[in-house]
């Protein structure tokens, strides 16, 4: 099924999408303009938890221009429903505009429209909203405090859901253990923060009753489905378009209440409506991520074998359950992936989603894995220290070496390079390991080396979602491929590309199957019109599943091209090869026919077709992910240098050895890894959404929420091992998220190594390093 001698897959091809992005001619959501368009601005909650007493519009009467105002009373019948069908889960809905209560600072309370965006902002500021404060849940402790009333009327406590996962005999592991090591680890709140915020434009054509919604989203089909279901419109009369999207990272991988709301408002006002989020709105009210608190207890034999693991996982998921991954998404994922790349067969996890008066939690590159790997890999170092083993040796003693491997929860891991990646990174770091040991006696400068070895379940298939009982119940990706009469090709892809380079990599895949050149293939994506239904771009699925679907659909067309070519060349179609825009005989390449002639015969001069061959060169393929997904793996390493007198830390080196199976385009793969790593460095060292005890957000601009900047970041060294998976058509595993998973653990381990201290949390900002190094001053 895999291509025998790929010419374009694996080639370092420069991206086709770059020219418009470099020239300034790309079209992002704010570049969508329509005649008579109204501009929408939200009036947002300023209290974390309060009753809405009154929304006074009096000041708008003499503002001097026309306004339109919608409040929760107008949208009482509409809400987002992100419920997981477990009896333990408390039911909740998120109103499109706050109804009677606000539950976090930044929640939209009213939508105000005007002809001009400046006027809309003026008008939104003129609404007077009177609140009656309610007790605030500002922390996980508050959420567990029975004295603080629940956020929702029908609830009995402030836990969305608490469940368990287990496998093997944990009691036996505990009884057999020589060491019991218990540690607590915490990843604080942060988010994906793409450089382009969110935005929505909606318009219903009164003549055709056809609704078009442009949104800066990673999942246009799911947006369409949600709008259809909530507004009762036929899905066939809704088109959702994601134009050029300025970064997503999972933030734009949920369906937001405003996407449904703005569609509804556009229908009410009968004009196009545009909303563009500003940076403050993005930071306080789009989607937050992480905010995990884990307590792990490991049972270890005298000779350093990991026998069992017990995990208690709490996640502060904020005020609402988000669609489609729900409040249970992050804690459930953390529990599921905690066993990681190590061989042990006793595990028990209790995991819970705690509600709070904060921005709702959603997906961000890695989804719970950065937090799970932080805890798991910090624990490995803490165990090694406690039992007096070298951290590399301790990992190597417990690493999984034989594949397929069935883990303690019953998930089957396909072949990977776990051990090799550790050995390779140890070799790459050998000088730093020596330097770190030599610095141990220094009172001025300490060097630390830390690693994180991890696996990442990618390209999840439908069974994985069915097990989770989320509102998203399917995992396939569809692609439609069509060859035009001139032999050029269009791919309509169910995915959406927001920086991943799918316009190039998908063309590379189809080019190999069809024997054409990648530059003759046009990839359309991010538009529900014309593309097969798919769940969107997230979960590291674009390469393995999108690429796989393009490959399989292209092979169907290739088969037909060969049948027609065989007719023309009076040969057997088994002897035909497609390459360089030609169909030729494998054993006699001089006998050939241009693909263009075949395409023309198949679409225009159909009288030339062999008997029984139908006109047309189109194929569609929907590829589902493997039952347990395919497991990418990597080892990350950080080298830090800490100046003891000042507590200043410098990240000296960051090294990645990764294995994503077949590489479709090394330029893109390296870019994905490096970009992910620097986001992970942000998680490890800079980024933290801070709330005070009243639930007020304190990090509302880029002056407070610190993004990694170029001077703080070293060159990221990337090395590859290629272990193709037998589970996807091209042998590719997912790689989009992996880069962001390792850095918090690797950097915290490096700090622990440098200072010989227990490092229980991220981010580790300058004052944290100062405090952690206090004993050395």
């Amino acid at each position: 099924m895999r291509p025998e001698s790929p010419r374009h897959i694996g080639a370092r091809i420069q991206r086709f999408e770059d020219t418009r992005l470099l020239a300034g001619t790309a079209r992002y959501i704010d570049d969508i303009k329509m005649p008579d368009m109204l501009h929408l601005r939200f009036a947002r909650a300023q209290s974390a938890h309060a009753k809405i007493v009154e929304i006074d519009r009096f000041a708008l009467d003499d503002i001097g221009f026309k306004t339109w105002v919608f409040t929760g009373e107008d949208t009482r019948h509409l809400s987002m429903k992100a419920h997981q069908d477990f009896p333990e889960m408390q039911y909740s809905e998120q109103p499109l505009l706050a109804l009677e209560k606000v539950r976090y600072v930044g929640e939209p309370v009213a939508a105000v429209l005007a002809e001009d965006p400046y006027q809309a902002e003026d008008a939104a500021e003129q609404l007077f909203i009177d609140y009656d404060p309610l007790p605030v849940v500002a922390s996980m402790q508050d959420a567990l405090n029975p004295a603080i009333p629940p956020l929702f009327e029908n609830w009995t406590h402030n836990t969305f859901v608490e469940r368990q996962m287990k496998g093997g005999d944990l009691e036996a592991a505990r009884a057999a253990a020589h060491y019991t090591i218990r540690r607590r680890y915490r990843n604080k709140r942060q988010a994906g923060v793409p450089m382009e915020g969110r935005g929505v434009v909606a318009y219903m054509d009164p003549a055709t009753r056809f609704l078009t919604v442009w949104s800066s989203t990673q999942m246009p089909h799911l947006v369409r489905t949600c709008i259809s279901e909530e507004l009762g419109l036929p899905e066939s009369r809704i088109r959702v378009v994601a134009p050029d999207v300025g970064g997503g990272f999972g933030v734009k991988g949920q369906v937001f209440p405003d996407e449904v709301l703005i569609a509804w408002i556009a229908m009410q006002v009968g004009r196009p409506v545009k909303w563009i989020e500003d940076r403050r709105e993005h930071l306080i009210s789009s989607i937050h991520a992480r905010d995990h608190d884990h307590t792990l207890e490991a049972y270890v034999s005298e000779d350093g074998r990991l026998l069992g693991l017990k995990a208690d996982i709490s996640v502060d998921v904020g005020a609402y359950s988000t669609f489609p991954f729900t409040a249970a998404g992050d804690p459930g994922m953390a529990a599921k992936v905690m066993p990681g790349p190590y061989d042990f067969q006793a595990y028990e996890a209790t995991f819970r989603a705690l509600a709070s008066n904060k921005c709702p939690l959603g997906t961000y590159r890695g989804v719970a894995r950065p937090s799970a790997v932080f805890s798991q890999e910090r624990l490995m170092d803490d165990i090694a220290k406690e039992i007096g083993m070298d951290p590399f040796e301790f990992r190597l003693k417990n690493i999984i070496r034989e594949f397929p491997y069935k883990n303690v929860l019953g998930f089957t891991y396909d072949p990977g390079s776990y051990e090799q990646s550790i050995l390779q990174i140890r070799e790459l770091l050998k000088d730093d390991i020596v330097a770190a040991a030599q610095s141990r006696s220094s009172q001025s400068t300490r060097i630390g080396v830390g690693i994180a070895c991890f696996i990442e379940q990618t390209a999840h298939g439908t069974p994985d979602f069915a097990r989770r009982r989320t509102p998203i119940e399917t995992g396939y990706i569809g692609a439609h491929v069509q060859m035009a009469p001139d032999g050029t090709v269009t791919i309509n892809l169910g995915l959406q590309s927001h920086g991943q380079g799918l316009e190039t990599t998908m063309a590379q895949v189809a080019a190999d199957a069809l024997g054409v050149l990648p530059q003759d293939i046009f990839v359309r994506h991010g538009d529900t019109m014309g593309s097969p239904y798919s769940v969107g771009t997230w979960g590291s699925r674009g390469g393995p599943l999108g690429g796989g679907a393009v490959h399989m659909a292209s092979l169907q067309i290739a088969k037909k091209l060969k049948t027609i070519a065989a007719h023309f060349l009076q040969a057997s179609s088994d002897d035909i090869e497609l390459r360089d825009n030609l169909a030729f005989l494998r054993d006699d390449p001089g006998r050939s026919v241009p693909l263009k002639s075949i395409a023309r015969a198949a679409t225009r001069n159909v009288d030339q077709l062999p008997e029984g061959v139908l006109p047309g060169l189109e194929a569609e393929y929907a590829l589902d992910g493997p039952r347990d997904g395919t497991y990418a793996n990597a080892t990350h390493a950080a080298v830090v240098e800490i100046d003891i007198p000042t507590g200043k830390m410098k990240l000296k080196r960051f090294v990645v050895v990764e294995d994503c199976g077949t590489i479709l385009n090394p330029l893109v793969v390296d870019g994905q890894v490096r970009g992910g790593v620097v986001q992970g460095i942000g998680s490890a060292m800079f980024e933290h959404f801070v709330y005070d005890e009243e639930g007020q957000p304190l990090t509302t601009s880029f002056a407070d929420y610190l993004m990694p900047l170029a001077p703080e970041i070293p060159s990221i060294e990337v090395h590859h091992i290629e272990t193709p998976t037998p589970l996807t058509p091209l042998g590719a595993k997912g790689l989009g998220e992996g880069g962001a998973i390792g850095p918090p653990a690797a950097i915290a381990n490096a700090v622990a190594n440098a200072l010989d201290v227990y490092v229980p949390f991220t981010p580790l900002n300058a004052s944290d390093i100062w405090e952690l190094s206090a004993a050395l001053r």
Binding site: T19, L22, A23, G24, T25, D122, D244, G499, S715
Partner: protein, 167 residues
């Protein structure tokens, strides 16, 4: 706000001189995007911290989200559209492409407008700067996709390719 509060300002944008009516509070970024239909001007934060909206004001990189259009009467402005046209032919744009200095492209016009004068200066100096210097030159711009690696490589390539050619 009504028409009465608007003031006429004359701007020369990418070589074209035009007079537009603006309110005193109108950001240069908004006027370039709406009044001059230049989609290459991107707003990333509107508080002067991310560099996405960088344009040249009389040849000098300037944040168009912290500049009011009314301050620019009679001045010359260049946006990314002027750099290498619709084929993005400027050496720095081509280096961004070959070195994968962009992914989603949203911050890219700001980086290009910040770094193009830097690249010119370094070519005039006849030296390829070290990595720390290149990273410092882009310290006012945030890129969320690339981890800066490809951007640093692109700047180095744009400079060194010109030095090799003239050598």
């Amino acid at each position: 706000m009504t028409q009465d509060t608007k003031t006429a300002v004359t701007l020369t944008v990418n070589g074209q001189t035009r007079t537009v009516l603006v309110e005193p509070r109108h950001l240069l970024a908004d006027v370039l995007r709406e009044g001059f239909n230049l989609s290459g001007v991107h707003i990333g934060c509107a508080h002067g911290a991310c560099g996405c909206c960088t344009v040249h004001l009389d040849g000098v990189p300037r944040l168009s989200c912290l500049t009011f259009a009314i301050q620019c009467d009679g001045r010359r402005i260049e946006t990314v559209e002027s750099l290498g046209g619709i084929d993005a032919t400027h050496i720095l744009q081509q280096a961004f492409k070959s070195e994968h200095g962009l992914q989603c492209g949203y911050c890219t016009p700001g980086f290009l407008m910040t770094l193009a004068p830097y690249v010119s200066r370094q070519i005039e100096r006849g030296e390829v700067p070290d990595e720390a210097d290149i990273r410092e030159a882009m310290s006012g711009n945030i890129c969320r996709c690339t981890g800066y690696h490809g951007i640093v490589a692109a700047v180095r390539k744009a400079i060194s390719s010109q030095l090799t050619e003239s050598a």
